[in-house]
Amino acid sequence: MSPRIVGIVYRKELLETLRDRRTLVVMVVLPLCLYPIVGIGITQVVGSQEARRGQQSSRVALRGPDWPELQRSLVDGKQIELGREHATEQSVREGRVDLLLTVPPKLQQTLARDGTVKLELVYDDTRERSRLAHKRVTQEVERLARKIVQRRLKGHGLSRELVRPLTTGEKRVGTAHGRGAQLMARVVPMLVILMVLLGAFYPAIDVTAGEKERGTLETLLAAPVDRISLMAGKYLVVATAGVITGLLNLGSIGLTLSLGFGPALRAAGVASQDVPWSAVLLTVVAMVPAALFFAAILIAIAALGRSFKEAQNLLTPVLLVCQLPALVAQVPGIELNLFTAVIPVVNVSLLTRDLIAGRTAWLPAGVTILSLALYTVVALKLAARIFVGERLLFAPDPGAGKRRGIWGALLPHRGDRPPAEAPTPTQASLLFLVVMALILLVGQPMQARHLVAGLLVTEWVLIALPVLLLVWLGRVRLAGALALNRPAPAAMLGALLTGLSAWYLVGMLVETVQQRVMPMPPEMVREYHRALFSAERGLALDLFVLALSPAVCEELLFRGVLLQGTRRSMSPTWTVVVNGLLFGLFHISPYRFVSTMILGMVLALIVLRAGSILPGMLFHLLNNASAIVVGRLMGSQAVTSTSEPVLSWPLLSAAALLFALGLGLVFRAGPSGPRDPAG
């Protein structure tokens, strides 16, 4: 990549972008006008409505005997017009009066014997004016009731405290500043995400599909510049547009709130000076990585379009899909933790909220930035692949276009080339994201409804099937993609020993520490026990669902496509670490993250060393099966992370010995066939 070319392309694309009316409207005009106009407009309308409502009197019809004290109370505030005309419920319904107040006939007698007078109020709760009348009359009635109580108590020589045995003294420790932060933390994240996306939307299309449509891309690609530099220049312009839009929106929101939106803030108990503008500006920390991420996603998808319209059709669902997670910051109870930090868009929303509210947890914040960076790199690699591919640059022959369309750019031509030896890192990463999305959207809800069926669908349909589809559609050699090689017998023996000992060694050791640092909540412990040790299910079914299925399906994904797809582009150490991290993330639980990550690393190490996925499957099977069987034999207490672990040092030593012996055997055996130089 040439920084000089990136700079030239960046300057030219930025100039063009700034001359595009569509982009300018979204990027500059919209934020600068929208908030002031809408904000001030709403304030004016609401303000004048309130003023008008305040001046408007309520028409109340009185029925029954006179009660001067009540009548005086009602008309004293000058907001109630009391009438004695004949009125019925129908009059209220028709809006001729706002409220009908009926005083019971034996009023004086009831009052004289300290009884309760029941006043009847008829009002139309679908009419604003009638509701207001109800509110005003009720307030006055309550005030009068308090006066009567005082009088009665005095008459009996009793003190007020007699009927008021309890009271509360309240002190709000939240500062106005804090309330301002909370208000902004609810509003700003969604606006920032949507505006960054909108700001990057048109430039992403313009610099990719737009250039193809105008016929300028072909001449550009004929210049002596590498396509990665071209793409980098274009990508940075899209990200810049997103950041500028985000900043202008923030600034405009700030100005509007400070200058024209005062009444709305006051309604929330906040003054303009209480809004933590410095914290709001701190959201740039989240906005810039978010803009870089969105720009990469948008440019990768827009590059698939062969015309502006086609790209627009492709990108519109992205805008819609991002709206929902952008709203997450408004949902109470959802925190930025290690799990939510890796969910794209959700993490930006939560981090922005926490930054404004001034309660950022720095570890999840760091994970957010890192995961965004990872997704950005994956999306950029995809964008680069599409951008350098000639299939989408030139309209192919119509037959081929019809048959393959956009997906043709992503998946290699079947029959054009010999099958690939292994999946590409991009294919592997995308598969991981797809499987994770499927599990979150389909697998987990299914498991919540029916555990066994949900688990089986998750393993075989949501994990194994996409793996096989990728291998087939991506035309990757099955044995290469999934490391389906014959292992050395010693490697299988090693896997047997490590698999039998790992559940105790890793499980107990890690979880003993974890129970002290981050214990699993009790309700989760119970749920976990129910899942693993249900006496209602037979052992064979449990072993199939919880041991064999994960051993096959999860290994196909993690030690198959993911490990084989990444090992050629990373050092063995990084390959093992990344594989373990992804395996930890896959289990979607902060309480199981460390143990599953370590198991994932051990599995990756074994499969890499043995050159075959089969020892990995055996290890995985035995690890899970041991936990299930021993759990059933001993009761659940001593086995899982869910309970306070009981460490037995002799057992631990034996497990460590077996584990070391097994790992030694795997390392000594190595692969059975000739060693792959890339491995």
């Binding site: 072909e218 004929a222 002596p224």
Partner: protein
């Protein structure tokens, strides 16, 4: 400075768009790829310009393999596509300067080239206008300026007169013959037989992805005992059946 195509082959799905095409363009020569729409001319030019990877064969610009040494090979080429390929929101000056910088020209040389080309191509009065407001003929002149900004030794022009009126076509022809006079190797594609006959030193007749014959317009006519190139071409393709 020569442009060489060696057994270039390209297939889209099951269709062979270009099938083993070989030819050579010498310095100071205009070589025309002639054939009907869909003959494979544009695909051949795209492979030579490094925009498409051939399935087999190779293209060389002054001895540099376009696939193995793409940046150096492309630096020696001017490539003009069938469309004028201008940025609507930029001015001709900005477009030409952009490409000049991409081709590695320093600012001083760039200014000098822009002035030269604006004078030669008669576009001085257009230089500050947005490209989106230019007529087809004006756009073609600006497009030529863009392609020639780095004064390359070899030119590849895909249908350079398509859609132009007589005056504009004549102007383009003058620019091309002027470049030949300065020793450039020029490869162009066209389906206008008469234009090719007038302009080209040698012609390669393409049909269904194959180069049927090549030679000077006169030699091709003599060989097919035809009065015009068009007639020669028709005899060639009917004779092949």
């Amino acid at each position: 400075m020569t442009v060489i195509a060696e057994r270039l082959t390209k297939a889209f799905s099951e269709v062979r768009a270009v099938d083993g095409v070989s030819f050579q363009v010498n310095d100071g020569e205009i070589y025309g790829l002639l054939g009907p729409n869909g003959a494979g001319k544009t695909t051949t030019l795209r492979m030579i310009a490094g925009l498409m990877r051939p399935d087999a064969g190779r293209a060389l610009i002054a001895g540099r393999d376009v696939q193995r040494d793409p940046l150096q090979a492309r630096a020696l080429l001017a490539f003009q596509t069938g469309s004028t390929g201008l940025y609507e929101r930029l001015t001709p000056r900005e477009v030409v300067a952009y490409f000049g910088r991409l081709y590695g020209l320093d600012e001083q040389r760039l200014e000098q080239r822009i002035e030269e080309l604006a004078g030669t191509l008669g576009i001085e009065h257009l230089m500050a206008r947005r490209c989106g407001s230019l007529s087809t003929g004006e756009r073609q002149r600006v497009s030529l300026a863009r392609a020639l900004v780095h004064d390359p030794p070899a030119l590849i022009l895909d249908e350079p007169t398509a859609g132009l009126d007589v005056v504009a076509s004549r102007f383009v022809a003058d620019v091309v013959t002027g470049a030949r006079a300065r020793g450039k190797a020029i490869l162009l594609s066209t389906h206008y037989m008469a234009e090719a006959e007038l302009l080209c030193d040698r012609i390669g007749l393409m049909h269904q992805g194959r180069l049927l014959r090549e030679g000077s317009p006169e030699a091709l006519k003599q060989e097919q005992e035809a009065r015009s190139l068009e007639e020669a071409f028709l005899r060639l393709i009917t004779g092949g059946e």
